[in-house]
Assembly symmetry: C2
């Protein structure tokens, strides 16, 4: 699937993501964000909600968790870069946090 973000749509999407705390991953066409919660239960509860949303989209994050912290990286492996699916999943994750 080649729906990689490009041109003005990409610039606009990245501006919004960066304003929401996402940043570009060095050396990859991917975005990442560190989410912090009060404790493990709240961190994992959020991951569970995000996991269900991701599965419904059939678009999955790379993520790691240590206690109350979740580091998320989003990219579209099939497109080898950022797509609308990453923008959508980022928005859902922000909305759930």
């Amino acid at each position: 699937m080649n729906d990689k973000l490009s041109g003005a749509a990409r610039t606009e999407a990245l501006d919004k993501l960066q304003a929401a705390g996402w940043s570009m991953v060095e050396g990859r066409d991917a975005i990442s964000k560190l989410f912090k919660f009060k404790d493990f239960t709240r961190a994992f509860g959020w991951m569970t909600q995000a996991a269900i949303a991701a599965e419904k989209m059939n678009h999955h994050p790379e993520w790691s968790n240590t206690y109350n912290r979740v580091e998320v990286t989003l990219t579209s492996h099939d497109a080898e870069g950022l797509t609308d699916r990453d923008v959508k999943l980022a928005g859902i994750m922000d909305g759930l946090a």
Copy 2:
């Protein structure tokens, strides 16, 4: 809490963990294992079971997930190394997988 594994008990515990697929993390007194599942739902379902067990023990993993893979690292931050709690959580995770 200083209940770091040592001596014969440590040797015996590490032998059993290594036989079960765990390995020492380079440069840390920690163990890690890569768990692979059929798909994301099964990987995250296992994480959810392990998360509940970890919260009950008040002993939490460092872990990362990408689609059907979960990389787990266990250590006891308060003891600055491996303890019985890591051995117990490793056993629970293996039992759930």
